[in-house]
């Protein structure tokens, strides 16, 4: 055996040994939560802080002795936005004892896993596609559907239009990623715009990672848009609005974003460009979230300084809180020994109205609703801060307007 092969084999051996050396511990009474998240891919900016919040809530619950003595195990799998990986991961864990909830942090993954979820009589969470509300099954969404939140934005646009004392109908432009997510808002959103009498311009789509969005913005501006809705997961909306600002469009046209729009972290640096942007969010943003003692205390306890605080952390916390609340209900009805994922599915439908400490509107899961909450809040960027301009308000049901 040559020197090279010796090095080669020893490297492989070392890797195998180091991998097999790691092993997990387990508690006596334990339930599991599986997160199929993209920690290293295009939407990591959303998933990483989200799962941090969730993990901390679970840690905190476990530290306090769990739910009636039952501890919760968090399993976080990095899917890299890849469906094949995620499906494989789900198959790996689907026989985990008492795996009650799967959170698929990408709708594409959620759709691929959905069939298995039905068969396993389990419960799945996915971001916000209205489809899951239209066809009621075992897949739940985090908050109001994308089209609901978009409709709430349109409502606000109408209010704003009237408040400015303008007559006629506002013209609204829409630009977003050229992928399934980017088009979801329009399924129902478009119908809602027609219902309000809003003139809706042909939507614009661009690939994620586009350097400049000038073409789309100028086209929408030229078509006479009064409002432009910038889709995409941050930092995309931030970059779109930066471009709009550089073009001088933001002076005349009001920019809006959905709930994946800019967070306080990004706004700090681009304060000037983002000034005046309207964000429709179903979870608390900006200082409101930072000053929510419930959120801030947990962050300080597990993550330290508030300098790097991201509001999506709060949204992640609400996943954990919902899980704990439903687990309580499920344990009360069937007890730990007989607990199956199906009981958790039933429990999720029973926690309607459960209070999320102000992070979000009240829980809206019910036998007829797959929405995590019905309310949204409209925020606006003012002097580099995200300030709420409305209270929690009910997002209109745009899902029912579209034929799925």
């Amino acid at each position: 055996m040559g020197k090279r092969s010796a090095i080669f084999l020893s490297i492989i051996l070392a890797v195998c040994l180091s991998i097999s050396g790691l092993s997990s511990s387990s508690f006596a009474k334990e339930v599991a939560y599986l997160s199929l998240a993209d920690y290293t891919g295009p939407i990591a900016g959303l998933n990483v802080p989200g799962d941090m919040g969730l993990e901390d809530v679970l840690k905190e619950t476990n530290a306090k002795g769990g739910v009636d003595g039952v501890k919760i195990k968090f399993i976080g799998i990095d899917t890299r936005y890849d469906v094949a990986r995620a499906v494989s991961a789900y198959k790996r864990y689907r026989r985990t004892p008492r795996l009650l909830v799967v959170n698929s942090i990408s709708t594409g993954i959620g759709k691929a896993v959905a069939r298995l979820i039905e068969r396993d009589k389990r419960l799945q969470l996915v971001p916000g596609d209205g489809e899951f509300q239209a066809h009621i099954q075992r897949t739940f969404i985090w908050g109001p559907a994308y089209q609901d939140a978009f409709a709430a934005t349109l409502d606000w646009i109408m209010d704003d239009w009237k408040a400015k004392g303008k007559s006629g109908a506002p013209v609204v432009g829409y630009l977003s990623w050229d992928n399934p997510y980017g088009r979801e808002h329009l399924r129902g959103g478009k119908e809602y715009a027609a219902k309000l009498g809003i003139k809706f311009l042909p939507p614009e789509f661009f690939p994620p990672g586009t350097l400049k969005h000038d073409v789309y913005l100028t086209r929408l501006a030229k078509a006479g848009a009064h409002y432009i809705h910038a889709g995409g997961v941050d930092p995309t909306p931030t970059n779109v609005i930066r471009d709009a600002y550089a073009l001088g469009i933001t002076k005349k046209i009001q920019m809006t974003t959905d709930y994946w729009g800019p967070t306080a972290l990004g706004i700090g640096v681009h304060a000037k460009a983002l000034e005046g942007t309207v964000i429709t969010s179903f979870y608390q943003r900006g200082d409101e979230s930072r000053n929510n003692p419930f959120v801030a205390d947990l962050w300080k306890k597990y993550r330290g300084s508030m300098a790097k605080f991201n509001e999506v952390y709060g949204m992640g916390m609400s996943w954990g809180m919902t899980y704990v609340a439903a687990l309580k209900v499920a344990l009360k009805t069937v007890g730990y020994d007989k607990l199956t994922p199906d009981d958790m599915y039933k429990a999720y439908q029973k926690i309607t109205g459960f209070d999320k400490q102000g992070i979000q509107g009240a829980c809206a899961y019910s036998p007829t609703s797959r929405r995590g909450s019905l309310e949204v809040k409209i925020y606006r960027v003012k002097n580099g801060k995200i300030v709420p301009i409305t209270g929690w308000r009910k997002a209109p049901d745009a899902v029912s307007l579209h034929k799925f």
Partner: protein, 348 residues
Amino acid sequence: MRPCGVFDKSYGLDIAIIRTWQHWVILISALILLFLFPLFGSYYIISFMNYLAISVIVGLGLQIVSGYCGQISFGQAAFMAIGAYTSAVLTIKFGVSFWIALPLSGIMAGLVGIIGGAPSLRIKGMYLAMATIAIHFVVIWLILHMEITGSFKGLFPPPPSLGGFEFDTDERMFYIIMTVMVIMTYAARNLVRSKVGRAFVAIRDNDLAGEVMGVNLYYYKLLAFFVSCFYAGIAGSLWGHLITVVNSEQFTLMHALEYIGMLIIGGMGSIPGVFFGVLFIRILNELVMFTSPLLAKAVPWLGSSPAAALGLVAFGLALIIFLIFEPRGLAHRWEIFKASYRLYPFAY
């Protein structure tokens, strides 16, 4: 692979793939074991083997075009998508049975592959590789923007059924996928040692010399692309009916690059190499995916996301190590083992 002292006494023996009765025993018992596996194997291993087998089919196709014919292709994921979509469209919109849609999706992917391989008539090497990347993006773009493919909504192909029996679980699909894989492996093994296979190797080693010796370059290059994409299409169809949902986000350039990585690690120009490569990369991927939560637990200050990032590093490092220390891939190790088996008990 044969032990010392076994000689070929007839032409038939010389060209046989399986040469001794021991091999027949091993082969048949291995096949029986494979097909009985769902009876006792764990669910996860079965579904993982399904995924491995589908990857093997794609890898075999890539081995033919890249490993044997020397035309590096990064389009394999896109051709897999074409197969998956063809099969889905045929079964959903035209009510064609899966058993007919399966070969048709292979042929469809193969035909598109001929168009995709057309640049190989003028360009080669790096340039061709880049052209196939371009083809990948054009195909995926078309899928996302056409009505028939369900655009962004994707398609939901039904599980295959035979006389009322639904192949709707991983255990049941296992039989279809494994049968197809065995047939495809046998076909590939035979193809590469036929006249066609020798022509492919001639093109790979030196296309100009091959042409001078009478190999019709255009014909064989396009044939290589057709066969390779046929394999990808078949794999795509199986994949679509296995997970019963296809959308444009399932087929990424990253997958195509992974398949090339499999060939590197398994060994270019070797059919067993495909198996080694697929096993290595897929198992590495799974290990990385499932150890990162453990790693995050063992080293809490690291957090979940960085542990996941280390997975990327591991994949990259594995490729680097193989490229430097074992450029001929695991198949080379296998050859060495075979040689020593043949010579045993003599040194050489």
